[in-house]
Amino acid sequence: MERSVASSNEGSVPVCRLGWTLARLFILLGLGSQLVPVTGSRAIGGEPDGPRVVIRARAVITASGETHAPGMIVIEGGKITGIGKTVEFASPARIIEAGDQTVMPGLVLARSRYGLPGYSRGGLQAARKASDEVFPSEIDFTDLLEAGFTTVGFIPAGSGIPGHASAYHTAPAGGEPARLLREKAYVRVCMDNTAADKGGLRDSLSRAKAEIEKVKKAREEWEKKKKEAEEKAKAEKPKPPEKEEPKKEEPKTESPGQPTEETPPAKEAAPAPKEKPAEFVPPQIDPHLRPLVDWIEGKPDALPVFELGSASDFLHLDSVLEPYPTVKGSYYLALGSGSDYRPAYAALGERKALVMLEPALARIPYTASRIDPAADLARAGCQLVFVPRGDSPAELQRVRTRAAELVRSGLRRETAIRALTSNPAKVLGLGDRLGAIEKGKDADLIFLDGDPLEPESRVLRVMVGGEMVWEAGEK
């Protein structure tokens, strides 16, 4: 395989010319239709060892702190393998010329009900998953793609603790309208109506704690029983143990819905000390409490996202969580007309919280004084996650332009870029896979005709997993 180098200042390296010649050769050979900025990437995406794709753009915004202008991205098997001003790559490679375009990571929408119906449900429903109510084939993802979103986190409908958000790619792999990325991305926990929610969360957490105690007690009894059995065996050493009763009643505890305290596994087997102690079978945990148990034990499958309506809700939430220092989560701040989160900025910043909010200016309630919650939260130390005001197509489009407006009024550019890409990916638990143009990450990219933080810039093309999945003008 021949090594080649592509470079922006062509001609300085002799090998480079060779690369170019090769590229031109491909074009001449009629493969050009797949190389030039048209899509037609059927042959490429998906296969782990498929041919390389090389993107040459006017600018590449990595969202991890760098901008390469011009920039190159090398993609192999749907993953990014090279990024920089100049990147070495092995041929053969399909080259996408985007010399007049800016490439950045696909935008990530961390909280949406786009295209989904509403349900009214309340209370503790933590075992639910949004994926159970999402039927991708019934959703038209065009608006999301057009706005530049390559990943969307659908939230479960309802109040209280309505369940898990599920993360999807907005575009196909092999003809599917969308692809499930992470079924249990995070758990939605509403705390915007504390009169009802605070008691509910407090009660759910204490029930989860009781479940932990229950398992602990069962384990202790099992250990006690095991020890007794061992001692007994030691005493009757000459006689070899007869295994006539293999794990008699143990599996019974597994049956769901069985009252828990009355028959811990140990007691069942206690009258038969000769029996060899079976494996410890922990008692069943209420599936709706399972996520909370995991938070308390500090090994969550999905972290909570607390949805607040005011700074007061934040204090109420903290007072509920005070006895559970291991429970950590992110926040969603609903920006209503009278909502003012300023008193919570410092505390949120101190814990470097991921904070979802609309990119919009607000007012100090009952005054005409403008405040910029996003910029102030960022300065306090929070990691911002921008979400649209609603799920209408226009609002989806506006997330980026609203962010641009905030940049114009003082938000740091890098903060805005991250709030659209890598931070929402983190909220969805996909931070190691998505949200930045880095080696090893998925090649989820968008091509714009200008800077993403210029309001008039348009998304021209969308790539998911190295495959071009959408192009402007194509509906």
Partner: protein, 424 residues
């Protein structure tokens, strides 16, 4: 192996117990000190102390006097030239300052209603039959007392209800007598039967609580004859009574005093006399004075809400104005102040915690830039549970209002949160 097992078990146990301990008790935080220096301290239950220091620790008053060592790290308010009062207490029902249901869970601790209440010097209000504090910026220690009163209806407009209530009192009193009789006989007579008490539920249970002195009755009685009838009932059955909205209390003051009833009044309330009756009726500004002179414990309340429309000065932001109106009717300044502090607290049964500036009581203060009963006075700071819950110069509501001599002397406060750093 065994030893290590035991060891690790022991360690686990220690860990678990320490975890449990930390879960139950609040994690040890350093003591929170607040010192207010140089104010004229109106203790209400004691003397007025000029230029005194009030020291608080973790929400309680720990020292009052002129020669007090302020601990290091204490938050210090320099209140020279200001007047420090106990936080004002509204004994009448209110809405919109704390949350409904359980205020510990439902209160918006940054709400405009709460802020305006604090700006009026209020620190404790009644909501949903609970005494609750205006703990701006803190969600703990909101509720002071639950189930303040048993509200009973005893009005001539509902004769059936009146009869039912009297019958309930009669029946429960009979039951109490029978129970006492049984207790007396029990030792001597093994066959004595305990009176059945399964029927004591609902209304009967409420009446029982009143008869046993475990609860205080609250009766809304504006007219003189209603007040007299409620007092007669209280005297007959011997329960504690608070009469709310006692606008014609002055016509029945001696009867109220004899039956031990307390009164919650709104001195500005106006009612024309009813010329058809042959007795004194109607409202008078002297109501408060007359009740006080007869020895009726008195709380002054005002309309139970914050109003930002209509005529200003008639809502919870202006409780001292309501009390000042009683002074206009002849009540002494001291009694008027007591009626919005310690006497209101007594009527609510929370005077062990609030209502005066005394060592051991809650650190709830209204610190004003003048006599709190004067119409020119503004509350400068309000302290609740030892925390500054309101600071006029740091809030957007009234910071622009300055005395004429002071105008322009210092710039308006910038409310932008610039203190968080300049990482732009």
């Amino acid at each position: 192996m065994n030893t290590s097992n035991v060891l690790s078990m022991a360690m686990l146990l220690v860990l678990a117990s320490s975890l449990a301990a930390s879960a139950e008790e609040a994690p040890k935080k350093p003591a929170r000190h607040l010192a207010i220096r140089g104010a004229t301290v109106h203790t209400v239950t004691g003397p007025v102390l000029a230029g005194a220091t009030v020291l608080c620790r973790d929400g309680k008053i720990t020292a009052i006097g002129s020669d007090i060592q302020i601990p290091e790290g204490a938050e210090v308010i320099d209140a020279a030239g200001h007047h420090l009062y106990p936080g004002l207490v509204v004994a009448g029902g209110t809405q919109g300052l704390v949350g409904g249901g359980n205020p510990e869970d439902s209160t918006d601790v940054y709400s405009l209603g709460m802020t305006l209440g604090l700006a009026g010097g209020l620190t404790t209000v009644v909501s949903d039959n609970q005494a609750a504090k205006l703990t701006q910026g803190a969600v703990g220690d909101i509720v002071l007392k639950r189930n303040l009163f048993e509200r009973i209806s005893y009005t001539s407009r509902n004769p059936g209800g009146r009869r039912a209530l009297r019958e309930a009192f009669e029946r429960v009193r009979e039951h109490l007598r029978a129970t006492a009789e049984y207790e007396r006989r029990k030792a001597a007579d093994p066959e004595a039967k305990k009176p059945d008490d399964k029927w004591i539920q609902g209304e009967y249970e409420r009446v029982l609580r009143l008869l046993e002195g475990r609860a205080v009755a609250l009766v809304s009685a504006g007219e003189g004859h209603e007040i007299l009838e409620a007092c007669a009932l209280a005297k007959l059955y011997g329960f504690k009574l608070v009469i709310e909205d006692a606008r014609e209390g002055w016509t029945a003051a001696s009867e109220m005093a004899r039956s031990g009833a307390s009164a919650i009044i709104m001195p500005r309330e106006r009612v024309d006399p009813d010329e058809r009756t042959g007795r004194p009726t109607g409202a008078t500004t002297q109501n408060a004075r007359i009740l006080h002179e007869h020895g009726v414990p008195l709380a002054i309340a005002t309309a139970g809400y914050i109003s930002l429309g209509g005529m200003a000065g008639r809502d919870l932001q202006h409780l001292p104005m309501e009390a000042a109106y009683a002074v206009r009717g002849g009540l002494s300044d001291e009694a008027a102040l007591a009626a919005i502090t310690i006497d209101a607290a007594r009527i609510l049964g929370v005077d062990d915690r609030i209502g005066s500036v005394e060592v051991g009581k809650d650190a709830d203060f209204a610190i004003a830039d003048g006599d709190i009963l004067h119409y020119m006075t503004h509350v400068r700071w309000t302290v609740v549970n030892g925390r500054v819950a309101y600071d006029r110069m740091k809030d957007t509501l009234f910071d622009h209002i300055r005395p004429p001599a002071d105008a322009g002397s210092h710039p308006a406060v910038d409310h932008w949160p610039r203190s968080l750093g300049d990482d732009r």
